[in-house]
Amino acid sequence: MHPLQVIEFLKEILEEQPSELTEESTLIGGNTSIDSMSLVQLCLKLEESAIDNGFVFDWTSEKAMSSMNSVFRTPRSISDEFNSQMNRAKLSS
């Protein structure tokens, strides 16, 4: 998944569009922070996209919850985590 796809998901979810949303925009704790409801909706979209790609996206890990190293820090970090889980799933199958 490309970070731009994550940004597309966010645009679909967010009622108030941030002025700028880039691959490195801070999603947690920054000016473009998303609320918890939007975060859950994003997770559901990632999960559905994962199913379409033949694996299960885990968004309940301790890493996901970490404020410092959260996979939800930026669209890029989300994309990286998604691709990492997809690759692990492919290797183990």
């Binding site: 997770c43 559901l44 999960e47 199913i51 299960v56 309940t60």
Partner: protein
Amino acid sequence: MIMQTIIVTGATSGIGLEIKQYLRTSGYKVISISRRELDEPNHFSCDISCFNSVKDVYTQLLKSRERVYGLINCAGIASMNLALTTPDSVTQKIIAVNLVGTIFSSQIFAPLLIRNGGGRIINFSTIAVHIGLAGESVYVASKSGVEGFSRSFANEVSKFGITVNCIAPGPIKTNLLKGITNQQIKNIVDRQIIKRIMSPSDVSQLVSLLLSASSENLTGQVLNLGGV
């Protein structure tokens, strides 16, 4: 009319079994979950106190694109003992199944209800929480936790159109009453406003009410069957 799907945990015995049968005869599709293996459609064998075991069921439902309207957490165990004489393994087991199991089930299956556009979660407590029954301290502790979790979780998921409520029955004729004397049951029933032993169908009817559209504004509540 679209058949709504309800997940029922602890669906092979006691109240869970009664509710499963009631819902099926009422036209719901029931996905039953219990530790026991069952050769019947829409049944999953799962240890509700094991996160990965519950997650496996969720993954299968997700892959089958199952739309779920309701989750009824009936899985529970009881051991009537003074806390002073309760073995640590029993304490751990009661908390694991009754409280942690309800939390795991709710947090893992709730996304299915969110995808459905809303729904109902019904958890089970006990009248013993309200009356602080002697000999049930650990059981009461687990169910108090369920009540607290339900109130907070109701706030967390209300934005998604999901209600979360607890049913807290008094004594019901199920296996959970094994080991309780008739006098003990009478002592509890005497503390209810309606002084009779409730039947499984009394519980099922309350479940039916909570699943109905009429209850869409009722959430975060503990409904003591029989009144306290």
